[in-house]
Subunit: 146 residues, 2 copies
């Protein structure tokens, strides 16, 4: 993991979101900022257990629930059992490759928000989740076929 943020920066990030900085919270935030792979709670746990041997899974859930409440993360409910977490809370779409399992971001134009014109609902958030095959996997498949 690239070390891109100083402890002070991470602490400020949390404070700005009305979260008291603790060791675990800083580590989880650092992981999320440096690993933008839409990790699951377990992904985060498996990585951090190396750094904090006494770490419990519950602490990861506690931290992520708090982050969610304070708007530090958003969740991705893709068609899989585990919930994923995203440190990027700005409007953007997600694409899951059904071959390699990776989840990619893609830009979403404001056109999509035309939906919001509807008088029926007050929309607070929108998720746009696409499924298919990514470029890399497509190329691999084409190679094998020829």
């Amino acid at each position: 993991m690239k070390m891109t943020y100083t402890i002070e920066q991470l602490k400020d990030y949390l404070k700005k979101h009305d979260i008291k900085p603790s060791t675990i919270r800083i580590k989880v935030l650092e992981y999320l900022l440096n690993n933008r792979i839409h990790p699951t709670a377990d992904d985060i746990y498996q990585y951090l257990i190396n750094e904090i041997p006494t770490l419990s899974k519950t602490s990861i859930y506690n931290t992520l629930d708090l982050f969610l409440e304070k708007g530090v993360v958003s969740t991705l409910s893709l068609k899989e059992k585990e919930l994923r977490y995203d440190i990027n809370t700005y409007l953007h779409g997600h694409f899951k490759c059904e071959v390699c399992g990776k989840v990619y971001d893609f830009p979403v134009t404001y056109k999509i928000l035309d939906v919001n014109e509807s008088k029926e609902f007050t929309i607070k958030s929108i998720d746009i989740n696409a499924y298919g095959i990514c470029k890399k996997c497509n190329e691999k498949i084409n190679k094998e076929e020829k």
Copy 2:
């Protein structure tokens, strides 16, 4: 539940989707066609257990998995534990009211498919899920406030 379909119609519906009609499959299909509320497997089970006292939950899962495989239903992965099923497999968006919990359909313009222009992914399906407050709940809240 309004009886809108004859047994023969239900059988044909299944046959057209390459599914052998059985009692349970017909009943599940009938439920899905007459109750367009995006039910969970348990919703379907709780209703049908009254009609088929020997019914098992596994049969509901088996049936829904088969329906999914044959394209009779699509699934909704909203930010909740249970998966929901939709007999409407045409492109449309979903709105979940965070107050009453109901899931509504809304039309999706083809604009959204501009996303598909991307050279990075081959998109096979798109889910558009919105969250917020529905009209009914909004009105109720406004009344209480005044």
